[in-house]
Symmetry: C2
Subunit: 108 residues, 2 copies
DNA sequence: TGCCGCTATGGCCATATAGCCATGGATGCG
DNA sequence: CGCATCCATGGCTATATGGCCATAGCGGCA
């Protein structure tokens, strides 16, 4: 441990905050397949284009995605490769939590 | 991919939101060492006890930590083992981003 | 029983976020 | 040039969050 600087936790929090929205998580899942333009992601998310654009700005600012300009369109791509494994691990824990809850329900 | 339900992303977002605060990340880092009572964590974080208690409630509600009562004190412990590896991976990407930024600075 | 220490909760205010609409800037095309 | 398309930004409101203070609940201990 050794007293990591507060700055480190603020940097991590910035990343976590960027992940803390269902629409952004959906976009990241889509980008895990292939790079996409804002219009693609707007269709997928089903929100206003300006809303999607702001979500993408958050992800970009956090360093999670990269953007590439091609003509009129801007393609976003995933920069962080460890998301899939992370969610898989987290969901494993959540499933276990559910099981334990159910066990408590039955025994009471 | 195949159209995961919106519910999944809301569940993930709940976890991400729980991670999205420097004080909570600091607590999780501390809990990675050993379980701790609220008083320990209050000292480490340096905020009001009620604030720390609320932070812990968020982490518990997200299923990231567990709590155990022992006499008057309540000990919290980490339930998710994949945090260390995740942050290590993320910070690798962020470092790379920094390097690229510096390269752009030099070349301009 | 009565007091004290450890946690949790409610109240309150300041700030941040998400959403949409409207608009602006940039690029390509005829 | 004039227009259309794609994306980003500003304005606005509603809601959520974080912080502290005050206080309540709970378990131990004399």
């Amino acid at each position: 441990m050794k007293a990591k600087p507060r700055q480190l936790y603020e940097a991590r929090a910035k990343v976590a905050k960027a992940l803390a929205h269902p629409s952004r998580l959906l976009m990241l899942d889509a980008l895990a397949e292939k790079e996409m333009c804002v219009c693609d992601l707007t269709d997928i998310v089903g929100a206003d284009q300006s809303t999607v654009s702001k979500h993408l700005a958050v992800l970009k600012n956090a360093g999670i995605v990269a953007d590439r300009k091609e003509g009129v369109m801007i393609f976003y791509s995933l920069k962080v490769a460890c998301l899939r494994g992370f969610w898989s691990c987290v969901e494993g824990v959540l499933m276990q939590n559910l099981k334990e809850q159910q066990a408590v329900m039955r025994s009471s």
